[in-house]
């Protein structure tokens, strides 16, 4: 029984704090860095950074990425990857604008239905047919981008959403000082937290990513979980696309390029293992905000071009993954 007692003893004591910070970077690391960056930003740039207006812009900018990254978190936790979300964002936006000629309902349902179907096909090919997620969603990336351009007549036609449509007003509304998309993103995020942490589907998502074979042998519905995460990812991206279109009153087939990588970066910076099985949505939220705050800060420095944002994000990503792999190695030794 010594092993058991040791196991219990090790969890208590002063090491608990160290563990929280280093052993579980997914729990604490990114929020701490985010807080430091926020403080540093406020001290350096004062009012121009810490103003309500600027923070509101950061929130709006983050909201689309948060929607996408929430779905991406489920996908990555299940041990997969979804490369199609950038293209889906564009397709959803184009379809929103295209459907707006038939009213708000069509403008919302058309893109969501199409995204849902594409997500379902992704999921079935991955979960049931057993094709690698990378390949399937790469194909979906090409497919969705192509479809977006086709609907927009090779980009020559920009479908405009009528200004008097309820959707337009919704997209540009502000409640309690924050733009509507921010509230939508927060609602979706909160729902995601509940689903991930408090439902059997959520727990199974972790288990499938942790060890698919074990999950199978434990009798979990592995295939169903793997299908559903891609549907979820596509639907959340679809919502983001509708909101982007509503905000800009138009659907552009060129938007969202590289967004899939940005979302993956946010999830991984948030401490989710790229191999799946461990991570939190809270971390993803912190990751999204961190990326967007850094972007904003670099914009504050007039002399730096926006491309330095990618330099910094890339560096962050490498550091986080390096820490992750070291921790994983320590755990498995």
């Amino acid at each position: 029984m010594t092993a058991v007692e040791n196991a219990t003893a090790a969890s208590a004591g002063p090491r608990a704090v160290t563990r929280l910070l280093w052993w579980r970077p997914d729990r604490a690391g990114t929020p701490v860095v985010l807080a430091l960056v926020l403080v540093a930003g406020s001290l350096t740039f004062g009012g121009s950074f810490a103003s309500g207006r600027n923070l509101g812009n950061i929130a709006l900018d983050s909201s689309y990425l948060l929607l996408i990254a929430t779905g991406m978190t489920f996908v990555i936790l299940s041990g997969g990857i979804d490369l199609s979300v950038g293209s889906l964002l564009a397709l959803s936006g184009v379809l929103t604008a295209y459907g707006s000629r038939w009213g708000t309902l069509a403008a919302v349902l058309l893109p969501l239905a199409v995204c849902g179907v594409i997500g379902l096909v992704n999921g079935l090919l991955i979960g049931r047919a057993g094709i690698a997620p990378f390949i399937v969603t790469l194909a979906a990336l090409l497919f969705a981008r192509g479809l977006a351009f086709a609907v927009a007549d090779e980009g020559n036609t920009v479908h405009i959403i009528p200004a008097d449509l309820a959707l337009t007003q919704l997209g540009q509304a502000r409640w309690l000082g924050l733009s509507a998309p921010v509230w939508f993103a927060l609602a979706a995020f909160a729902a995601g937290v509940v689903v991930l942490n408090r439902t059997r589907f959520g727990q199974a998502t972790f288990a499938v990513g942790d060890s698919q074979e074990a999950a199978e042998l434990m009798g979990l519905p592995v295939a169903r979980v793997r299908v559903l995460v891609y549907v979820l990812s596509a639907l959340l991206t679809g919502i983001a696309g509708v909101l982007v279109a509503a905000q800009t009153q138009s659907g552009l087939p060129t938007i969202g390029e590289g967004r899939e990588l940005e979302a993956i970066a946010a999830v991984v910076i948030g401490g989710t293992l790229l191999t799946g099985g461990a991570g939190t949505l809270g971390g993803t939220l912190a990751g999204v905000l961190l990326l967007k705050v850094i972007q904003n800060l670099i914009n504050q420095v007039g002399t730096l071009t926006a491309y330095y944002q990618q330099v910094v994000s890339g560096t962050f990503l490498v550091v986080v993954v390096l820490i992750q792999s070291r921790l994983t190695r320590r755990r498995t030794r």
Binding site: T2, V4, N197, A204, F206, L217, G219, R331
Partner: protein
């Protein structure tokens, strides 16, 4: 008599024309622990997969609680009350202990959301029932393997299992953890659960099991109460040797001091004298190797014998430097090596042909030429360029000497037969002109003709002064090929035979004796005499 929990009625199963099981019967009664033993390829795994719904039989039927069943999926078998504990812990390491216990059937509240508080409380209660006190919120992977295995058992049982299938559950556990697990098995028996206990550790069979079934080559060769058999008879049955012949020596020779005397004598004065080319001292890698020592002289073939899981391959890998060791030292020509890894081994003149030809040996898409010269490339390279002419010389020589049947040196290795692939691997090591060759199962899976050729090749090489460490699960091969045989059990050397004492009988008796109660299971089994 009560209805058997599981009644397997003459099932057969074949894969791609190969018969894995032929007419095997097995009945498993409530409240019994039934051992299933057999060597590699005997069909143990296939049988338990038939019972647990992974496979369906081609012939015969499986009855569960008296009713014929055909589970489509392991999930269905589990739902019906047949749970399986696998050799490797099959839980999700990054989830909590409680989460692992309840995955897929978490308690929920009125809103359909998981009630974690109740889940943790129930998990604590369940684990306490097995004497495990552990923080159920901890990640499973942070706990010892023994505790993990216990949690797997607890999960299996909390589904109200009537039948528990355990597939070598102790293979990765420390002795102390094994005790813990066996206590739980005893608890299961008291609760009238039927346990099918697959193992290759004979002392566990005698410690915990009521009945034992032996499979060999996909057939049932023995089933009966454990009390009515002996270790020797079990070993003989598993290996398919003549029990009568051994019985004539009398099973009483187990306790006969003559046997140990004999062994003491035989391990007295080494035949090969002088400094051994290769010497290993106290190789330890927990939990698979426990202080293995051996030496190989020039021109000597040393055999390693032992049952599956006794540490044969682990010894080979340790000697070659392929696995990290907890303790132990390697000496070449009497000089102790400081850093030991495969590259150092090769520089020191040690070559190894691994057990798993496909995974660790040949590179199927490369040509015969490339495969042979692979390890020798550094020696054939001048200023970064590889000399094609010298490559061809080497390849020609070995293809001729080893009689490798190839259409041309450029032929892809994948297209060769198993025997010829093995020869290519031998050639790869031989062109390094090694002084000791470690051969792990050199004739596994190759046809009879090629087998004889390789065996005589080994003798020829030894006659030329090469030292050979020969590992084989076929006793016959070890007995015929080796001048000296080390017998392994549970990762330790439990006996050494040389000269006339090397016989299949004798090896089996050493294996069986080593699992006797009289000896502590992990006795250091000090290498005697020549070591």
């Amino acid at each position: 008599m009560t209805t058997p929990a599981i009644d397997v009625r003459s099932v057969s199963k074949h894969f791609a024309g190969v018969r894995a099981l032929t007419g095997v019967c097995l009945d498993l009664r409530p409240g019994e622990v039934h051992a299933l033993v057999g060597e590699n390829g005997a069909g143990k795994s296939t049988l338990i997969k038939l019972v647990t719904g992974v496979y369906r039989p081609d012939g015969g039927e499986v009855r569960y609680l008296g009713e014929p069943v055909a589970f489509a999926h392991p999930r269905d078998a589990q739902a019906a009350g047949i749970s399986t504990i696998y050799q490797e812990v099959n839980l999700v390491p990054m989830r909590s202990v409680a989460g692992n216990l309840y995955l897929g059937r978490e308690p929920t509240n009125r809103l359909g959301l998981i009630d974690f508080r109740r889940m943790r409380r129930d998990a604590r209660t369940i684990l306490a029932g097995y004497g495990i006190t552990v923080d159920v919120r901890r990640r499973l992977g942070e706990l010892g393997l023994g505790v993990q295995q216990m949690i797997a058992v607890a999960r299996a049982l909390s589904t109200d299992a009537r039948v528990v299938v355990m597939d070598e559950p102790t293979s990765s556990l420390e002795p102390r953890e094994v005790d813990l697990l066996l206590d739980v098995v005893a608890l299961l028996r008291r609760r009238q659960v039927a346990v099918l206990y697959v193992t290759h550790k004979l002392d566990e069979v005698f410690r915990i099991c009521d009945r034992v079934t032996v499979l060999r080559d996909g057939r049932l060769v023995h089933t009966g109460p454990v009390a009515g058999t002996t270790r020797l008879r079990l070993v003989a049955t598993m290996l398919g040797r003549d029990t009568d012949q051994i019985r004539r020596h009398g099973t009483t020779t187990f306790s006969d001091p003559a046997v140990s005397d004999q062994r003491g004598r035989t391990t007295g004065i080494p035949e090969a004298t002088g400094t051994p080319v290769l010497r290993a001292d106290g190789l330890t890698r927990r939990p698979v190797l426990d202080g293995v020592s051996l030496d190989v002289h020039a021109g000597e073939v040393v055999g390693l014998a032992g049952l599956l899981g006794s540490g044969r391959t682990e010894t080979a890998k340790a000697v070659f430097g392929a696995d990290r060791l907890d303790a132990g030292a390697i000496s070449v020509d009497g000089a102790r090596a400081r850093r030991w890894n495969p590259a150092a081994a090769i520089r020191g003149g040690i070559g190894m042909v691994p057990e798993d030809r496909k995974a660790e040996g040949i590179i199927g898409d490369l040509s015969v030429r490339d495969n042979i010269v692979l390890a020798a490339l550094p020696r054939l390279t001048t200023a970064g360029f590889v000399s094609r002419r010298r490559q061809d010389e080497i390849v020609d020589t070995f293809v001729r000497r080893l009689r490798v049947k190839v259409s041309s040196p450029g032929q892809r290795v994948r297209e060769l037969s198993g025997g010829n692939q093995q020869k290519v691997l031998l050639a790869r090591m031989l062109c390094l002109s090694p002084r000791v060759l470690i051969l792990d199962e050199p004739t596994r899976g190759i046809d009879v003709g090629a087998k004889a050729e390789i065996q005589s090749l080994i003798s020829e090489l030894a006659a030329l002064g090469l030292g050979v460490l020969l590992i084989s699960s076929e006793l016959e091969e070890v007995v015929e090929g080796a001048g000296r045989v080390l017998v392994l059990r549970d990762g330790a050397v439990v006996g050494m035979l040389r000269g006339d004492d090397v016989s299949e009988d004798h090896i089996m008796r050493v294996i069986a004796q080593a699992s006797g109660d009289g000896r502590p299971p992990r006795a250091p089994a000090a290498p005697r005499g020549g070591l």
